[in-house]
């Protein structure tokens, strides 16, 4: 692992510090930018990154909150979440900064970047796709779907959302709205919905947040990961 820094010029004091998980062999590979939940970079995302490395990809665990908040407590992080979600244009610029860091790494093939996020990170991934970014795909695991309220761009990325149907933060009408939004934006999109599954289903520690409807679901975690790997193979089958 190595740390990769981006300085946000609009907030000079906030330096993002993403974590590269991959081979340092001077070889550009397809790379997944993993965007964490509200709790920021944790061992969970680094573990996902290691699984990807075993499959021949590289990973960069994205820092969206800034290194001064690494390991901060739950209340601090939720406060920051609220602040970041209140200015989606600024959030988009943060994601663009993280993407620029990835694109600048020797071990990242800039034409083969997938951005995959969890919960709030899923929204970040979608927001980057919505900006018209040149990424191969944007993937949301139990992410938030609310549109950013910015002028719509043509979406170039393939979009896949893995969604728990009982997610209290994303009721069925928001699923339908996302389908319509992505269709209008011209995206090649998929939504995989899972019954009896709530928010945070990929996170074995989700229930420690003690929020109704937020819980780990081993079967949905496995299914979404399998489909995610299917997507990577669809995109990059010839890379190995």
């Amino acid at each position: 692992m190595s740390k990769q820094r981006a300085i946000l010029h609009e907030f000079e004091s906030e330096q993002l510090e993403s974590v590269f998980v991959g081979r340092r062999d001077h070889q550009a590979r397809p790379t997944v930018l993993l965007v964490p939940t509200v709790m920021g970079v944790t061992d969970l995302e680094i573990g996902f990154g290691r699984q990807l490395v075993e499959l021949g990809y590289n990973a960069l665990v994205a820092d969206v909150f800034g290194r001064h908040l690494r390991g901060a407590d739950r209340d601090t992080m939720f406060g920051e979440l609220t602040r970041l979600r209140s200015d989606r244009a600024a959030l988009r610029r943060r994601m663009q900064s993280v993407l620029a860091v990835a694109q600048g790494l020797e071990e990242v093939n800039s034409d083969q970047i997938v951005v995959a996020g969890y919960c709030f990170g899923g929204q970040c991934a979608l927001d980057l796709a919505r900006s018209g970014a040149d990424i191969a795909a944007a993937v949301s695991f139990h992410g938030l779907f609310d549109p950013p309220g910015l002028p719509p761009e043509k979406i170039k990325a393939k979009v896949v959302a893995f969604h728990g149907w009982d997610d209290p933060m994303v009721p069925p009408e928001k699923v339908v709205a996302l389908g319509q939004e992505l269709t209008e934006a011209g995206a090649d999109w998929q939504i995989h919905a899972y019954g009896h599954v709530g928010h945070g289903f990929t996170n074995p520690h989700a229930s420690t947040l003690q929020i109704d409807g937020v819980a780990y679901n081993a079967l949905a975690a496995e299914r979404s990961w399998t489909s995610f790997i299917d997507l990577l193979e669809e995109l990059f089958a010839s890379h190995q």
Copy 2:
């Protein structure tokens, strides 16, 4: 291939004639009951069956219309479709007859039957699951979702629906309604929705039907097949 007959006692003149595609080696295997579109048993479903056999499964291409209609013209088949869909209790009994034929075959493991249908056949697969049938899974490829209007049973089968979001026969409100129905019936369910995809997307000849919104989509065909195989592996990983 060999033909397997079921006589419908309520319509003595209508004999169903399903087609077994698999190894005749006296060994019970996980088996997929493939339920065709409105056009009945064709080379398309037999070809899907052969792909499954290559993966170590057996297949039975289900006859729902009766052998007297094998190869009938489009108008005849659509007429029959309307008749069958108008009596969902009778349709359920037809599916139960086909399932009984499968369960009686030496090469079918009765505890490892998946029912997968296309278009109208997708509805047949869902209807069998809705009956509370002891099947491992029911899978719908661009199937119809309308509930049968029969007393609800607890669904034991895992349910997966692969759905084109632009399917003119299944608008978003029917997707939401299916999610709710399957949740209430206690099913372990998934819906995979594909953007910019219509009805009939697995069928390379779909556009010959000349119906608006009915068209082949190679990418959705490939994605749904890959996810279908993922499901079979989830269910039967240890069988080989």
